[in-house]
Subunit: 145 residues, 2 copies
């Protein structure tokens, strides 16, 4: 019961962190030439798939705080890649959408990131990929409450 973690190389948690760090580093390196950080890309990707989301929803989707997403949105808006509603249609949430320029940047970035993900999983069969995804989702669910 008071047992420790054990050999790190045998630990799922450690290996999970290792894979996430490798993915983050690879994305960072490939997005840098496009002038995007990983959180900025994440913001664009989510907005491309679900236009009109609020900053708080984007923050949850990108796994950062509202405050961090706030800063990301300010930067992207200043570059003209997205536009936020000036007034809230209901409540306080300000819907945000991509501009045409934002969609163009996203198209490049998304293709780049897709390449990274393909390289990451190329040694796995399609079935193994889907199994891995499902197991990871189960792990995330088990910790979320």
């Amino acid at each position: 019961m008071t047992q420790g973690v054990g050999d790190l190389d045998r630990s799922v948690g450690y290996t999970l962190k290792q894979a996430a760090a490798a993915l983050r580093a690879a994305m960072d390196a490939e997005l840098r030439p496009l002038g995007l950080t990983v959180p900025q890309y994440a913001c664009l990707e989510i907005l491309g798939q679900r236009p009109g989301m609020s900053a708080a929803e984007l923050a949850r989707g990108a796994f950062v705080t509202r405050q961090s997403m706030h800063a990301v949105l300010l930067g992207l808006a200043e570059r003209g890649l997205l536009a936020r509603a000036a007034t809230a249609p209901q409540g306080r949430a300000l819907p945000t959408e991509l501009t045409d320029a934002g969609r163009r940047v996203l198209e490049q970035a998304s293709a780049t990131v897709a390449g990274v993900e393909r390289r990451m999983t190329e040694t796995l069969t399609p079935a193994a990929r889907e199994r891995l995804r499902a197991d990871l989702a189960a792990c995330a669910d088990a910790l979320s409450p």
Copy 2:
């Protein structure tokens, strides 16, 4: 070829980040009462398993930069949880080891983290756990060069 990432919920990369974020948040919450951050715990855990490692080796093991690990080591040393050699036996690397106090803190922290990892993977069979770990290691390897 210029295809994008596609639906995020079907993406291995996105789900990987989701699981890593959940693990990080859970570890952060459980280590806070012990007065440890995640990088600090990682440093102690690695040192516990492999005494005498240098700061640069610790940084690679914890997936941070040498500079970040340097700051972590200063903090832990000031709290008396580890001791760094004053002079380098060879080269410039300064071997670091846990103190008795460090080992006591690590024992608690490691048990706590083991509980988090157990909770994360409790819906998986032992075989599925090992398969997940192996697939994650393959993903990390595919991106490391």
